[in-house]
């Protein structure tokens, strides 16, 4: 508060400045490393539990899931490391393939939105949806997580492939609220236009990329390493 004028200050030696800054920097680095080391396992557990819970929510029919990924030769294979956007195949009680759960990511209104959706091979449709991570505006954009009419679109969202199996027959799009007429359309939210349209785009891009691969390879996939669902 009543600090003396700078001119009267004895000049500090460079050594004591280095000592203070480097010393504090070292102490702080040690602190961060210690905290990171002690919490890393808990954080990984939390993330795995959160993802497992979300997978069970979007594809309740699956009794067991196996993580898969694209291998180098473009085929579906068992995932070695946890990828940034995990992909799972879900199996029923008798070991039959009931669906796939896909993670997808894309730009929303504020930041990237990360979603999880379930694809049913039998119904050729998206049958489950959940937002994993979003920073959308509370009260507006974040309604894509809980608005009933919006979420109702994902109970049976048409995702048939074109006859040659290379892409979706009908692109998945978000339409204005109350104007949904086709089974591949998502009923949008007034007040969350950009976010609900972004979800449509994220699903369309991801489904176009993944569903052809899943339809081609999933049934012949070797289920040697099926893990029990939690």
């Amino acid at each position: 508060m009543n600090s003396p004028a700078p001119a009267q200050q004895p000049s500090t030696s460079a050594w004591s400045m280095y000592r203070a800054v480097v010393g504090i920097g070292t102490l702080c680095a040690v602190l961060i490393v210690v905290v990171y080391q002690t919490t890393a396992a808990r954080i990984r557990d939390n993330q795995a539990r959160f993802l497992a819970l979300a997978v069970a929510q979007v594809l309740p029919a699956a009794q067991a899931t196996v993580a898969v990924a694209l291998t180098e030769n473009g085929q579906l294979g068992a995932a070695a490391e946890a990828p940034a956007l995990p992909l799972f195949l879900g199996y029923g009680a008798d070991g039959e393939l009931v669906g796939a759960v896909v993670t997808a990511e894309g730009m929303g209104y504020q930041d990237n939105i990360r979603v999880l959706y379930a694809y049913s091979f039998e119904r050729r449709a998206i049958v489950g949806f959940k937002v994993l991570d979003s920073k959308e505006t509370p009260g507006l954009g974040d309604r894509v997580e809980k608005e009933p009419h919006f979420l109702a679109s994902f109970e049976q969202l048409d995702a048939r492939l074109a006859p040659d199996g290379s892409a979706l027959l009908h692109p998945i799009v978000t339409v204005k609220q109350g104007e949904k007429t086709e089974p591949w359309q998502i009923d949008g939210i007034t007040g969350a236009t950009i976010t609900s349209e972004a979800i449509g785009e994220i699903l369309n891009d991801s489904a176009n990329a993944w569903l052809p691969v899943l339809e081609r390879d999933s049934r012949s996939f070797n289920t040697g390493e099926v893990t029990e669902a939690t």
Partner: protein, 213 residues
């Protein structure tokens, strides 16, 4: 002994009321407005800030003779940033949902002027014990202020308190209270109330003096 105790209590209480960081000093507005949309967010933010205040206050106070004047800001920020990083990891380890709902604001505790302000104005000039009490008082005042704003916003904006329904179903929730503008409304209401109370307090103190003179 008695005088010492009184001053210690005073050191703590000043942060709660007389020098409340939010309602009187009007510091740390960014988290106070942004993360007070629910009571639980407000409480977590307040506790996280208190923890950083306490730890950085003690560290700065312990190292105060070791830090040269010219290098004090960089040293303080380095200490504060380290504790904020630690808090960020701890919250992620405790609850991922909580960490998701607080978003970037935990990391932004680093630039909360309340913390650097206390380090500069108090901790760097006082012994660790007093710095700790000052930090706890300021932290408690900050938490209490955030919580009062958060409670008003959650009750009116979502009809719940700590996630439990408190208003009847028929109540049409005021979505605006959950949005950023609701933060300003709630803050203004509390500032009005606190300032009115302080005014009355000052008037009450003045009156006996006038009578005596």
């Amino acid at each position: 002994m008695l005088r010492r105790e009184v001053s210690t209590t005073d050191e703590f209480v000043k942060g709660l009321w007389r020098e409340n960081p939010v309602f009187v000093q009007v510091l740390g507005m960014c988290p106070a407005l942004a993360v007070s949309n629910t009571a639980i967010n407000a409480l977590t933010m307040g506790l996280a800030t208190t923890f950083v205040l306490l730890m950085s206050g003690c560290s700065v106070s312990l190292l105060r003779n070791f830090i040269p004047r010219e290098a004090r800001i960089v040293s303080f920020i380095c200490i504060i940033a380290s504790f904020v990083t630690a808090v960020d990891y701890l919250i992620q380890a405790i609850s991922l949902e909580l960490s998701r709902s607080l978003g970037a604001f935990i990391a932004l505790i680093v630039v909360n002027c309340l913390i650097l302000g206390r380090a500069e104005a108090f901790a760097s000039k006082n012994a660790p014990g007093r710095a700790a009490i000052d930090a706890l008082g300021m932290g408690a005042g900050f938490t209490a202020a955030l919580l009062t704003i958060g409670m008003v916003r959650e009750i009116l904006g979502s009809g719940t308190l700590f996630g439990l329904a408190v208003l009847p179903e028929a109540f049409q929730t005021w979505t605006v209270m959950v949005l950023p503008s609701g933060g300003f409304f709630a803050m203004a209401m509390w500032l009005l109330l606190v300032n009115r109370l302080k005014e009355r307090e000052a008037e009450a103190e003045k009156r006996p003096q006038e009578a005596a003179s």
